[in-house]
Amino acid sequence: MKKINTERALEINIGGLKLANPVMTASGTFGYTQECGELIDAAGLGAIVTKSITLEPSQGNPPPRLWETTAGLLNAIGIQNEGLDDFINTKLPFLKSVGARVVVSIAGRCQQDYKMLARALNNTTVDAIEVNISCPNIKHKSASLLFAQDPDSTSYIIRSVKKQTNKPVIAKLSPNVTDIGLIARAAEKAGADALSMINTLIGMDVDIARARPRLGNVTGGLSGPAIKPIALAMIWQAYHCVKIPIIGIGGIMSTEDAVAFFLCGASAVQIGTANFVDPAAAGNIIRGLRLYLKNRNMKNIKELIGQLKL
């Protein structure tokens, strides 16, 4: 009987997305699992969040696309992917065949793109849709801002995605804003079932010997342990602004890091850059969380959410 309890201790419902555990891999860090297959047990994860897909194949940004910084990683990949049709025809069947729960990340250059992606994906076996309105590395058709930097754009896109699908919709928010609460509320009001945050922070680095940027795209998005304190602060702030669940992302490397996110209000977490450092990281964190709860006689991970003592 006690064993059954520990088995279920990590179960969580994220806005209708029911997961066996709250640990997912973050978009763009795990591909579509074909690449990492043997290195990880995809079925054992809460879910896989796919690399963002676009309507049409996209070739991505010119290299160099990566630059390592102190405890961080700058990237400017530019969402290189093979597009919606390839995802539905090859990537998704593979993910399902290995038993993974699939959150598909979608990205677009205009509201119409998101709408069409959501419509096409609604009739597939994906478990949820994460709306990437916060990638710092792609240019948008009419705006100089990221969609997630503007409450109206956020609301407009989330609303139109919601109209096309009955799958849970997760809005992925950007930390590159003045008031995260404002954007979080806009997403919630537009019907988002959950938030995932944070995407990367816009950053750059310079090769002073050549007086050139380190990245082909000049600027990129910073991830890794360097951004964890920012992620925690933003989740803590958003937690007090919305009622929908928050999926915490940002430099989580260990079980201890993940616990901090739950305490700040996250209902689940995504592991990103850590997958590069240690492909076993996500699996280790799942085991670590289970042990953490057991050692504290907690029945479910929910008992941790937002329990930061002030």
Binding site: E35, C36, E38, P62, P63, L66, E68, T70, D278
Partner: protein, 283 residues
């Protein structure tokens, strides 16, 4: 092929030339599956600075003994940490990764060209070529100066002809490896059946009478690979090059190590690190 993450025991980690280290690892899981041109993704330290793993190409493979050797140059935080790891300790490695050299059937005259650390994977390739019944192996080793010429003995021991070129002329010929490659190709003009010889006595090496017999394999800086591609093109010599790029995941998931090919951006870690040089779009 199956990729694994495992703990590899460090059997040897010693400096063989200033800044150049040779490391032997006992890898129980997959040493027997490693092919020349593939790489291991190594966690150099345990902290977050440097954060990422380091891709290091395999230098020699003793599959039956479960041993893989690496040759690396200390030029950053990661390789510095690696160089301080002591014998008997364990290193977190992921591998074998990427696609190695593909030696087509019918090739018997091999020219290997290395710039700087580019020698590292070419020794593994030469070890493989040495097992062929019919073969002639010529290696052109280029370095800045005598102090950074490594692996000459290794190549000679397996019966390869080693030509050394240094930029400062402190060992072997003075100049660039690419200029020497041009000379080697011209002297043994593959379009002619009769071979001419030159003073550096390659008379005993029969660089093919016609292109299909010749295979050119290169590893070195991007600028060198670009020159090699340009030199080999008019002779229609099939040329493979091993590339280096900063990597995130090392397994093809993050698309960080992109290189421009005729087919679009491809991943050095996944489609590479060995590419057909004719497929690369040089900027």
């Amino acid at each position: 092929m199956q990729k694994l993450q495992t703990k590899a025991e460090i059997l040897i980690n010693k400096e063989i030339a200033p800044g150049y280290f040779k490391m032997a690892l006992r890898i129980e899981g997959f040493a027997g599956n490693v092919r020349p041109g593939q790489f291991l993704h190594i966690r150099a330290g345990m902290g977050y600075d440097p954060l990422l793993r380091r891709p290091i190409s395999v230098h020699r493979i003793s599959g039956r003994q479960g041993i893989v050797e690496l040759l690396y140059k200390v030029n950053g935080k990661g390789t510095q940490l690696m160089s301080r790891r002591s014998k008997g300790t364990f290193l977190d490695v992921v591998g074998p990764l990427g696609n190695g050299f593909k030696v087509p059937k019918g090739q018997s005259n091999f020219v290997l060209i290395a710039g700087g650390m580019g020698v590292a994977p070419l020794v593994a390739l030469a070890d493989q070529l040495a097992t062929y019944r019919k073969k002639a192996i010529t290696v052109i080793i280029g370095a800045k100066g005598a102090g950074s010429v490594v692996c000459v003995k290794e190549f000679q021991e397996i019966g390869a002809k080693a030509i050394i070129v240094t930029e400062d002329g402190s060992r072997g010929d003075r100049g660039l490896v690419t200029a020497m490659l041009e000379k080697v190709i011209r002297d043994f003009d593959i379009r002619k059946t009769s071979l001419r010889t030159r003073s550096y006595s390659l008379a005993d090496v029969t660089i093919g009478d016609y292109a299909p017999e010749v295979g050119l394999y290169a590893c070195g800086p991007m600028s060198m690979l670009a020159s090699v591609a340009k030199i080999a093109k008019p002779y229609k010599i099939k040329t493979q090059g091993s590339f280096e790029e900063r990597m995130g995941c090392g397994v093809g998931a993050c698309f960080g190590c992109a290189i421009k090919t005729q087919r679009g951006y491809e991943r050095v870690c996944k489609e590479g690190p060995v590419f057909d040089l004719a497929d690369i779009v040089w900027d």
